[in-house]
Subunit: 594 residues, 2 copies
């Protein structure tokens, strides 16, 4: 049976990250956030977490067990969803980070990210409608004209309509250059759209009247490849004469996903009857650029999805381990069985989960704060530097929680023993939910190419230099705070190793040896992420030494920091060797060797 009182996310951790580690209050000195204070931050988070626990969380298992159904040409979602969606809109989560001019609260991303983690941990699929609608509206806010804003964006931010991202086509998953959906100009203000899309989450649901699909398509005659892709707003229903009529967007099929069961994923057909209208967002042929400008945010949200799911599972297994009695403590012959948390190997699995979950949440909070400063920092220099760090860390903030979060989810099952293998307990559902995060918004492999092939090499190495400064400053802070010297030293050496490795790989790239640079991009990402999470744990360890938190919390942070730095950071030297080695086993492998 599910544990009683799963907190989903640890409130004390959120408080610690916001105020002790990241000094969220300092953001209130920026003009954009000057109406905010610790009080408004806490009020927002409190209201969101209360809703997450009381209203959203109890719907998770019922929705997992009753996925959407495709019947009579439309999608029937769980009957509880409309009310939940409305409540989330009322809480303000849909437009929390947007400016007051578009109905938002101009809440820092830092605060909103941690607040939304509760919602994701409570019910990933149900929250999905919010995340997607926000993303679609934000695209129009950033690149659309006033008419599109009035017509579509405002209604999405208000929660009257929802939004989707319609990128993927059946033959072209990660390869957006190959999309073939077409847009034919007309004499009116719209284009006629024709094509097939797949994996479009939330494109039909019955929760609100209408859905706006932010759709990538090629205008006839556009250049081939990525440079000929434009962005369109393609509503499910369009307004004609004051009422909503069909816009020739049909549901071609419901995809049977293994998780995120609240949120339907669909195959769509645009323009089967030649009457699907799409409105161009921004300039022609700029669609991919627009999408990628929003991609940081989307990928960070995937990281939060992942960290939140791993967090819910961590707490589920922690509560189980405190409750479940079995076996005796090593070396004793006591008569009564002890809670399994007394067994070292169970504690190993818990501490590993804690290190992954809380390290991920810390990284995501850090990255969200960079996003805030990148948008609203006082000086241009400050904004640019934050943007460099945000861009650099995005593939890590997406991939680490997704990949290691999956590992953490498997550990939560393992702690439950045979019960973990049943659908009467929750960890298996969290594991199913989690697996998506390494796949969508760019697979983990693609993130590794993005990190090594693009991000660390960009702007003459400026992003990596900025990160090295952050790390050096964190190590200094840790030393001053009285953190264990061994941990500081280990991280210092790791920074050097990663820096030197990157330099050498960069030289290979510049000499034209692309295979030699990128062949071990996976190991590079692993190495880089291991360091970045080590940095986060050292930051937390430093803050734990100097802030007034409880002794047990401080000891828990110290233990997790020590665990990560002592057991994971040593892998960095191996991974660095692999990146630079002539280990070409799979690079040179041919298709018929398998």
């Amino acid at each position: 049976m599910p544990a009683q009182g799963n907190p989903l996310i640890d409130d004390g951790l959120v408080d610690f990250l916001l105020y002790a580690v990241l000094d969220a209050e300092s953001l209130c000195q920026l003009e954009a956030y000057q109406q905010h204070s610790k009080e408004t931050f806490d009020l927002y988070i409190d209201s969101v977490r209360r809703f997450a626990r009381q209203d959203l969380w109890p719907t998770y298992k019922p929705m997992d067990e009753n996925p959407p159904v495709f019947r009579d040409g439309r999608i029937h979602t769980h009957p509880g969803l409309p009310a939940l969606f409305e409540q989330m809109v009322d809480l303000g989560v849909l437009s929390a980070t947007r400016s007051e001019s578009v109905g938002g609260q101009q809440m820092p991303m830092l605060v909103h990210t941690l607040a939304s983690a509760y919602l994701m941990a409570a019910n990933l699929g149900a929250y999905g409608f919010i995340g997607l609608t926000h993303g679609a509206a934000h695209l129009i806010e950033a690149f659309g004209d006033d008419e599109l804003k009035t017509q579509f964006m405002e209604r999405m931010y208000a929660g009257e309509w929802t939004g989707t991202m319609a990128l993927t086509e059946p033959h072209a998953g990660s390869s957006l250059a190959d999309i073939t959906t077409t847009a034919t100009p007309t004499d009116h203000d719209y284009y006629l759209i024709k094509g097939s899309k797949i994996f479009i989450s939330g494109a039909d649901h019955g929760i609100t009247d209408n859905v706006i699909n932010l759709t990538l398509a090629r205008i006839e005659g556009a250049p081939e490849g990525t440079k000929g892709i434009s962005l369109f707003a393609v509503p499910k229903l369009r307004e004609e004469g004051g009422r909503l009529v069909s816009n020739d967007v049909t549901v071609a099929g419901l995809i049977h996903k293994i998780g995120w069961k609240g949120l339907p994923s669909l195959a769509l057909e645009f323009g089967d009857e030649g009457d699907c209208r799409g409105w161009l967002v921004g300039e022609p042929n700029q669609g991919l650029r627009y999408m990628f400008q929003m991609m940081n945010q989307a990928r960070i949200m995937v990281g939060v999805n992942a960290a939140a799911t791993a967090s819910a599972a961590y707490h589920e297994s922690r509560l189980y381990a405190l409750d479940r009695k079995q076996g005796r403590k090593l070396g004793t012959r006591d008569s009564e069985p002890v809670p399994i948390i007394e067994h070292a190997d169970v504690r190993r699995m818990l501490l590993r989960q804690k290190a992954i979950v809380e390290g991920s949440l810390a990284l995501l909070a850090t990255v969200a704060k960079y996003a805030d400063v990148a948008d609203h920092g006082t000086t241009e220099q400050e904004r640019e530097r934050a943007q460099l760090l945000l861009d650099l860390l995005t593939p890590v903030a997406k991939t680490f929680p997704a990949e290691r979060g999956f590992e953490a989810n498997a550990l939560a099952i393992q702690i439950h023993g045979g019960y973990g293998y049943t659908s009467e307990y929750l960890p298996e559902a969290f594991m199913r939910d989690q697996k998506l995060n390494s796949l969508h918004e760019g697979t983990s492999g693609i993130q590794s190419m993005d990190l090594l092939g693009r991000k660390v090499m960009s702007k003459g190495g400026a992003p990596l230099r900025a990160l090295a400064e952050e790390l050096t400053s964190a190590i200094g802070r840790a030393r001053e705070s009285g953190c264990d010297r061994d941990l500081c030293d280990a991280l210092e050496r790791a920074v050097e190793t990663v820096g030197a490795t990157t330099m050498q790989l960069g030289q290979r790239g510049m000499s034209g040896d692309t295979d030699g640079m990128l062949g071990h991009s996976w190991d590079y990402l692993d190495m880089f992420a291991t360091l970045v999470i080590g940095w986060q744990w050292l930051l937390m360890d430093a803050a734990a030494h100097t802030s007034s938190i409880s002794e047990t919390r401080r000891r828990g942070i110290e233990a997790a920091a020590r665990y990560w730095i002592q057991t994971e950071i040593p892998r960095i030297s191996i991974l660095a060797n692999l990146c630079l080695s002539n280990e070409r086993s799979y690079i040179d492998a041919e298709a018929d060797w398998f």
Copy 2:
């Protein structure tokens, strides 16, 4: 859609392992196997693999989608099962390894293990009935008297009735010392059994008339703990007056497992009405000893389950990667998309799967051959040595395929991209199936304690010395065969590291520092297994150099050997450091730090 023509297990690999690596024909010189030859081995494997592919495999997805149902007090399994069970009985798999005296073929475990891998890869749940029935019958064969053999064993080996292992109780999963099911002596030849069992696979099904539950219980007045546990044969129906009547074994519930959907897992009540009869197997209070003598075999079978499941997924993703076109080769701007197997990161995921899957199968075949020699070797010395190696390697042969196989299964999903996240493709089902293998027959954590706390330390270190000899001999063979010297050197160093680490841990144990010895048992198992799989790959690499296999097969083996030894063996030094370090982060962690 599932791939066309998934081979489940690679026939060429099986052939290579049997005849090029492990010299299966040499077993025919042993008296027990003298009626066998390469021809009988191949005939058996061929008939099994043909059935697996043609008959069993097509039933996998339907059974996954239509799990058993508990209705009217009994379990309704998939309607295809009775015919499949009968066909497997006809193929002889149920008693293949048993002697002719009990109706078997006295097939070497080596041959049967690889043959049964096809069945497991084709439909793990359906094969489960065979594995369990064999195990239950074998227990009676080994420890029961003639009457029990006539009454139960013969019918199980003949496939008339099936068997189960009824160990686990709701409050005592891994902790068998705490079981409370009681057995009360009567004036007859039976005891009255009373108690509750859980996770009893195959205890009701409707495939055959009767089920014999090999049940652990305490005879009234027996010593506490593990020394007071006896083994009973408790039939679902007992014979009275020539007909079968209820034996007061009732199905209390069906457990909703997330995989192995063909095989129901049940909660059972024995003796609700005071009339459940059990027949003592062997001597009183020896039940746990009997079970553990069968445990090697059960755990190795779990390893084969795991390797087979990972193999089916590997081939599914290999075929997908050959077929699915997307993206361009790195550094090119070709106009047509290429099969994704052309992308280095996809090849990495395939080669990693190959290394895990085929390394696991090789280890399991090696261990199976030790089992054959342990049972039927010519000299006592030969048998003892093989038994030492078998005992030592069992926790590795169970855990490595289960843990790394799960990782391999996740990679098969990853290669399928978004499609891997749907139940329209198979990898997600394999992943669900796989997760059980780290849990049942002793969790991975328990295996790590068994390896370090019991196996490597037993008999004054004799098992480890025997393994070191095997490794040294394999390295010698590899050097002579012209394998890459770097690989041989790396393995040689790893053998030394593992040996030295074990010595030091043994000293800690002997000085009474149990925590210091066992605290990093997980890392020890990881280190040990990494070496053992390296050994297997070097053996395969050596055999590939000297046997007449195709060039592509040889290159594939070389690539996987190089991959494992170059990317995984380096971790051994880190793991050794952790085992010996004062890294006590989780060992010292207290329950409220989490």
